[in-house]
């Protein structure tokens, strides 16, 4: 009897381990040993980085995963260097906060000649500037005046015809809030934002590129987003016009950092990060026309009229304050 029981137990263990082996086989195939890059950059940034890496011979050796800024930010803060990614490109302030909390990035082993100083564990990849843009056809169709400021978009005539990015998910949304707060202060700013949010209704977008798409699609007449996207849309012949708001064009930089993992991965990651900075900048500069390194120049059309910087240093804490401000304006 005991022998029989033993036999049953043994055999079922064999069957179970077969199942495990079967699934393990499939999972080992999944690992694939590819380097993982997480980026909050949008399409153009991803494409530029991909083509630089592919040209340097890394094709098929990495996976580039796009994530929303908040999603990636949440992952960085929650997972530290347990994160799947080996390289991260992300808004600089978020990289700084993650480094403070987890000490998760290696100092870069290559040198760059950046125009502005930055900590040793990251170097800027690109900078984004915010502006207003309009769909001139929809504007005409609805008989609306050309806006000159963010405040103009908060006027009742723009009801349901404005699209803005949501600061809860998108760093582009922060550019909007910075402009409002620095021009109008918290109190009047809240009124402006409240009216703007009311006008935007369902067009408060989680992606920074959301508003320009909505404006291009004619779903709305005007929007706030990245300036270069409006410039590109206009150049491609679409009925789009960009407007530098008198509240100011604010900017954010996104940087590349290498996650502290085992040596072999980190060395390879470091090489690839260097390729991104060395080879991708040329293409990136055409999409995000802000000079970051010595020797870079941009065309006049891409120079915003009211370039500004927020008075306080940009940190995750400040972002959270501004997110609260945004929520309270709803």
């Amino acid at each position: 009897m005991n022998v029989k029981k033993l036999k049953v137990t043994l055999l079922s263990l064999v069957a179970l381990s077969l199942l495990v082996v079967l699934t393990a086989c499939s999972s080992s195939k999944a690992a694939g040993e590819k380097l993982v890059i997480y980026t909050n950059g949008d399409e153009a940034a991803s494409e530029a980085m991909k083509s630089a890496l592919n040209e340097a011979g890394y094709e098929g050796k990495y996976v580039l995963q796009s994530l929303g800024t908040s999603e990636l930010g949440g992952k960085l803060l929650a997972e530290g260097n347990q994160i799947e990614a080996d390289i991260v490109t992300m808004s600089s302030y978020f990289i700084e906060s993650a480094q403070q909390q987890h000490n998760m990035f290696n100092d870069l082993t290559f040198t760059t000649n950046a125009l502005e100083e930055h900590p040793p564990y990251y170097t800027p990849v690109l900078a984004n500037t915010g502006s207003i843009f309009v769909n001139t056809e929809v504007l005409k169709q609805k008989g609306l005046p050309m806006p000159t400021s963010i405040k103009d978009l908060a006027e009742p005539e723009f009801e349901g015809l404005v699209s803005i990015p949501n600061i809860m998910d998108s760093s582009t949304g922060w550019l909007l809030v910075q402009a409002i707060i620095s021009e109008y202060g918290e109190e009047e700013g809240k009124t402006v934002l409240r009216e703007l949010l009311a006008n935007s209704g369902p067009h408060v977008e989680s992606s920074g590129s959301g508003p320009i798409k909505k404006v291009q699609a004619g779903e709305v007449a005007a929007g706030f987003g990245l300036r270069y996207q409006a410039v590109m849309a206009k150049e491609s012949g679409l009925p789009i016009e960009f407007v530098d708001p008198i509240e100011g064009n604010f900017s954010l930089t996104e940087s590349v950092a290498v996650v502290n993992k085992d040596d072999a991965t980190t060395t390879l990651a470091m090489e690839m990060a260097e390729v991104i900075i060395r080879d991708a900048r040329k293409e990136l500069l055409t999409h995000y026309p802000v000079a970051l390194y010595e020797g870079e120049t941009v065309a006049d059309m891409n120079k915003p009229a009211y370039s500004m910087e927020f008075e306080q240093p940009l940190t995750v804490e400040l972002l959270e304050q501004h997110q609260e401000f945004f929520k309270s304006a709803k």
Partner: protein
């Protein structure tokens, strides 16, 4: 029924261990986590969630919109099933309804939202045709349309199936006895179907309550539980413990629904015999039902039409010239090829392993006297109850530190457990109809029990096994709510890629990927149907 053989235990024990490890334990951990705080265990997570006005509003929204969806869906599904079973409408139309209604099942729910935007939005296809905005689509209206389309096929299948078991002779009897139209309808159709109609309502409610794809694409400012759960878990400030609480709250209506379903089961009629009879002639009835069901079908399919049009145009809706560049560009991206391969691999593995597990469970339950065999029934009730998002989340909690994290295995396992109920019930249904003494005969002829299962039971349920395979495959291809917490950069699938593309509002790519899923599922479905038919012809 044969005596308990060691071979039975050898199958039974691993299955039990499998569901313990991948269903019971993860859910247990989820409960524990929902009570866990920085200082010990308490109810404070629940209090913080319950006092969060935005969250409670989203739960209210979910209940409201899911109930309304369930009412509309049940009604529409009933009309279609009635048209199919109790009228003499044009035969090809009946065939068209039967097939057309199933089309949404071959697509991921996240696609529905984008199709609705491109149909009813400011520049949408249907808006252009009608010349004006019909209604605002972001939020309530869009969600409602999406949910109804999503739940209609399932509800229809349920009701249509029950119609087959109603004896239509009673309709004639009722007519001859001089019943009025309403009375006759009430007594011969509604009363026998009451349990099923309730079942369809509950099913539609649960499906829309727990779906993630539709609100993710078209929810707008109208928050529902599923999107809130996603935000709490993967937003800028992740709060895993509160996420666990929301998951538990999401589980409650599902538990309630399943209990209700079991109760409604009792209302179902069982006719001893039913005779196939021709319907009475009634032109008015046929014409009106023909028109109504055509309208429902076309209404549903017209929403998906744009999906097959937009990617082939230069720049919908501005430049309407035909082009293949979007298609070519999409397929040249190595990313797309990789995620498609991933999806196929996952769907195939899920279908093979899932069918194996579900079939073995059913064999043990129906055809053996093994002690504790009813536990597979309990398992199937549990998997029926647990929403995909909740299951995925509980896997995230349990396996986060383990080597399973970020593998295909964990996704396959999640799919197997998530979709276990239906294939299991299919197998059970087919196995219980077979002659109960086959095993004994086999034994007398000198075959071991395993051999009998392999040589007799399996071939006789071949058609069902194929159906189980196709069910697992198609659902693994389209699911997003089950896997959204489990996919990583290296294991991303087509459905999660669509979510990523949404971030860039790249609708052409979204539609092309959706078509890819659709065609793959269509091929698998047609192949499976073909094999099923062939098997039947042999018998």
């Amino acid at each position: 029924m044969p005596d308990v053989k060691p071979a039975m235990r050898i199958i039974y024990i691993p299955i039990l261990l499998f569901f313990t490890a991948f269903l019971v334990v993860p859910l247990g951990i989820l409960f524990v986590r929902s009570f866990e705080t920085s200082d010990g265990f308490s109810l404070s997570n629940y209090l913080s969630v319950l006092s969060n006005a935005e969250l409670m509003a989203s739960i209210g929204n979910s209940i409201k919109i899911s109930s309304l969806t369930a009412v509309i869906t049940t009604f529409l599904a009933f009309v279609l099933a009635y048209a199919l079973n109790c009228t003499n409408i044009y035969k090809p139309l009946k065939a068209a309804i039967k097939t057309g209604i199933l089309i949404p099942m071959l697509l991921p729910t996240i696609t529905y939202g984008f199709a609705i935007i491109y149909s009813f939005g400011n520049q949408g296809l249907l808006t252009k045709i009608t010349g004006e905005n019909l209604f605002g689509i972001y939020g309530f209206n869009g969600l409602l349309i999406g949910y109804v389309i999503y739940t209609l096929p399932a509800a229809f299948l349920l009701i249509n199936n029950s119609f087959k078991y109603i004896d239509k002779k009673f309709m004639i009897v009722s007519n001859l006895m001089g019943d009025g139209v309403i009375r006759s309808f009430k007594n011969t159709i509604v009363r026998p179907l009451l349990g099923t109609l309730g079942g369809a309502f509950v099913l539609a409610f649960i499906l829309s309550f727990t779906d993630f794809g539709i609100p993710a694409s078209i929810g707008g400012t109208y928050t529902v539980v599923a999107t809130q759960l996603y935000q709490v878990m993967l937003g800028s400030i992740p709060d895993f413990n509160n996420g666990a609480v929301i998951a538990v709250l999401m589980l409650l209506p599902a538990v309630f629904g399943v209990l209700l379903l079991n109760y409604l089961e009792k209302l179902n009629f069982h006719y001893d015999k039913f005779t196939a009879i021709g319907m009475m002639q009634h032109r008015g009835r046929d014409v009106s039902f023909g028109i109504v069901s055509t309208v429902i079908l076309i209404g549903m399919l017209s929403i998906f039409a744009v999906m097959f049009i937009a990617p082939f145009l230069h720049s919908f809706p501005y430049d309407l010239t035909f082009t293949l560049t979007h298609i070519i560009d999409t397929f040249q991206s190595s990313d797309v090829r990789t995620v498609y391969q991933n999806s196929l691999f996952i769907a195939l593995s899920t279908a093979v392993l899932g069918t194996l597990i579900a079939f073995c469970s059913a064999v043990l339950n129906v055809r053996t006297a093994i002690k504790g065999r009813t536990s597979t029934d309990i398992i199937s009730m549990m998997t029926n109850t647990v929403p995909g998002m909740v299951l995925g989340l509980s896997y995230l909690f349990l396996f986060n530190g383990s080597s399973l994290k970020g593998t295909f295995t964990i996704i396959v396992l999640c799919n197997i457990v998530h979709y276990f109920t239906t294939p299991y019930l299919m197998a059970k249904n087919s196995l219980s109809k077979m002659n109960p003494i086959w095993e004994t005969t086999g034994e007398l002829l000198g075959d071991s029990w395993m051999k009998t299962v392999y040589r007799v039971l399996l071939p006789n349920s071949a058609s069902t096994v194929i159906e189980m395979f196709s069910y697992y495959f198609i659902n693994s291809m389209v699911t997003i709510s089950g896997i959204i917490f489990l996919v990583t950069a290296q294991t991303s699938v087509v459905a999660s890629k669509i979510k990523e593309l949404q971030h860039f509002a790249k609708f052409n790519e979204i539609f092309i990927l959706s078509i890819l899923i659709f065609l793959t599922n269509l091929v698998v479905k047609l192949l499976c149907d073909h094999f099923q038919k062939r098997k039947f012809n042999h018998l």
